[in-house]
Amino acid sequence: MSHNPNIFAAMLVVALLFFIWSCARRIRLMTLGKPENRFDQLPLRIGDMLLYAFGQKKVVAKLFGLNHAILFGSFLILLLANGEFLVQGVFPHLSLALLPHAIYQGLRLAFDVVSVLTLICVVIALARRLFFKPDYLDSAYVKGRSFEGFLILAFIALLMIAYLGFGGVKIATGLEPGEGVPVSRFVAALLAGSANLTAWSNFFWWLHAVVLLAFICFLPHSKHMHILTAIPNCFFKNLNSTSAQPREDFAAGNSYGVGVVTDFTWKDLLDSFSCTECGRCQRACPAQTTGKSLNPRQVIHAIKSNLLANAALLKSGGTPAVPLIGAEAEASNTHESIWACTTCGACMEECPVLIEQMPKIIKMRRHLVEMGASFPEELLNLFENMEQRSNPWGIAPAERIKWSSLLNAKPFVAGQTEYLFYVGCTGAFDSRAKHVTVALATILDHAGISWGLLGKEEKCCGDSVRRLGNEYIFDRMATENVKLFKDKGVTKIITQCPHCFSTLKNDYQQYGLDIEVIHHSQLIEHLLGTGRLKLSSKASDLGKIIVHDSCYLGRHNDIYEAPRHVIQTATGHRPAEFVRHGKNAFCCGAGGGRMWMEEHTGERINNNRVAEALTVNPGTICVSCPYCLTMFEDGLKDKGASTVKVRDIAEVVAAGLQSA
């Protein structure tokens, strides 16, 4: 039972040096990224790290995540055992046995039980990959049944076997008592008959030593580097709005967006080293689900691959040889995939280690638009219309107030009007959405709300242009709008569009606008709840209602209950749910500027969502977003299901009002 501490010490030093060199190389690469402050609000960050990294909150949101959570917990406990092993390997007299006996016995029991638990989890993980492999474990460049995946599982299994084996030998040879360590004692019983316990002892010890050192060396070079990066990644999570991208500094000589990998911030690059290719974002992504080339997981994988492929050139300040955008390769993103994103945020919602996929796509769009004027041709019209007339269709601003001709709509006057009703482009120009605008105005009047309009002076919020990477126009629009709101003395804004809502509430904060912005679902919920709005009848001709969550209301702003409460009060019934609802809701396909583009590949996203709705045979699909309204009505026509109605919650409520 002896090994040469000097030989092991030499091996350990080599392994540690290699490990440190590998990590340092990667950290060095991360620091090539642009600066970004992720060190604020430390208590909150520590809390989130405990919840998401140590608490594995998102990991266990899916059933199989339990297996990972057990492995993770075991790993933390066995870190102590392996630490002891390394120290004892060099200094044989140092061990945990020096601790008080009760503690030492407790630790032995913990190591014993946890090792066998880990072994079971490894077997389950192996079985899953071999026999029940979900499709989303595969991506274009990383397969679920990868050599790397099996190698890591083999490493862990061998470590456990070696640990329990060595423990068994110690008991069998009488070096340690068998009490309190049932698994090791069982192994000891198996070994008891062996003639050559010394050989077994050496075998298990060196097996443990070699596998552990190999594991340490291999770790930074594999996707399993997440073991090191996931915890800090959760600590450095985005504490701001998930939908608002950072501003650009428009000045001569600056470049915008991300064209080469080091244009990303250091946190973007840390994200890429934190991904362990679990594929959950891939499964949730509406573009990927409907057959587009975009895969949020591959976006992250491409960033890491690109950084490593260009490492030498980047460190010497040279131009990267492998392009980040434009090639159909492991270390690159195709134009098609970059433009396929609906910015729905499902990828970020899914990610167990809080990687931010979507903003990286927008940053690349920004580069394409601002630096290369390279974008799908459908967008040329949109950009021109936005720039010249501040609406997506290029309609004359005078027509913004046409919808209000039948109503007693007044202009907003500071001091006299409480709320600005920011109608938004769709609500003002789209003939279908105008019904919603009128319904909401009627509701406001019934409830005695003091509201006013900006009329012809209202401009587009700029949501689409920002998500499409046209930051220069957005910057101008946001600046103008914020000035307009301030000049007019606006303090409270009502919107009927979640995109306007989120942009005014979250994006405009970057421009110094900090006022109350309310989505109509919240306001109507409040008015009904406080009895300020009374319904004279319940809407009854709508059939079974199913409720759809708008991404910019739900995932991006955490408003899920308001529309449901409104429907419940207006109809007397809680609405039916989609299979994918709430945080897991599936996008209608129109976000991120996709409203203004065609889907040339695969199934249309709205058709996928409509098909999901039709499985519950609804009479009405209820929405709270004008884009969703269009997408559902369109999809229902495509599916030949035009008997199913699509209604905004405001229309459902207005139907229950006595005509004034």
């Binding site: 019209n381 269709w393 003939s431 583009m597 065609e598 249309r604 369109d634 495509d638």
Partner: protein
């Protein structure tokens, strides 16, 4: 000029009237990109007729456009519109849904993500008039809308609106135009 296909085979570009070639393989890339015809000596190429030529109609420059939408119900029904277009010297256009359904090619699409047109007369058949379509055609001098749904927003921009079944209305208009033309020819007016 030599070009190669995706298998790396070398081919020779065919041009009408020039090469004497025997066709061994024909490549037509419908989506766009390179169009090549491959062959080795022998036959004389008189003319190349491709789909592209048939559809090479610039709807943006047409004076009269007869457009069909989802209400056309099928590809074959566009023949009705083609007849009307032929009779008036116009061209056939389409809404996004008709293009999406594969009834008409993409280059015929009018609207936000298609072409913006300003014809003298725009006849919208079975097009409800979603804003994405309206912005592509609302600057036409005269808009004639034919739709079963009297609530369809297309009527908000139409100069003349016909609420009715396009499968009756469109042939009736075509017939009437033909009759008028025959009368003109006969009387020489």
């Amino acid at each position: 000029m030599a070009a190669s296909d995706n298998k790396g085979n070398k081919g020779i570009l065919l041009e009408s009237g020039t090469n004497e070639l025997e066709l061994i393989e024909l490549y037509i890339d419908e989506v766009g990109g390179y169009r090549g015809y491959y062959g080795v000596n022998v036959a004389k190429v008189l003319e190349i007729i491709s789909d592209k030529q048939k559809d090479a109609v610039d709807i943006a420059g047409a004076d009269i456009i007869v457009s069909g939408g989802r209400g056309m119900l099928g590809k074959e029904n566009f023949a009705l519109l083609r007849e009307l277009a032929d009779e008036t010297g116009g061209v056939v256009g389409a809404s996004r849904s008709a293009v999406d359904a594969g009834w008409m090619p993409q280059e015929r699409q009018v609207g936000q993500t298609g072409k913006t047109v300003r014809p003298k007369i725009y006849i919208a058949c079975g097009i409800s008039g979603a804003i994405q379509h309206l912005v592509g055609m609302q600057d036409a001098d005269v808009i004639i809308a034919i739709n079963r749904d009297k609530e369809a927003p297309i009527f908000e921009v139409a100069t003349y609106g016909i609420v009715g079944d396009l499968f009756q209305v469109v042939p009736a208009i075509t017939q009437r135009l033909r009759a008028l033309k025959q009368l003109q020819n006969k009387t020489g007016i």
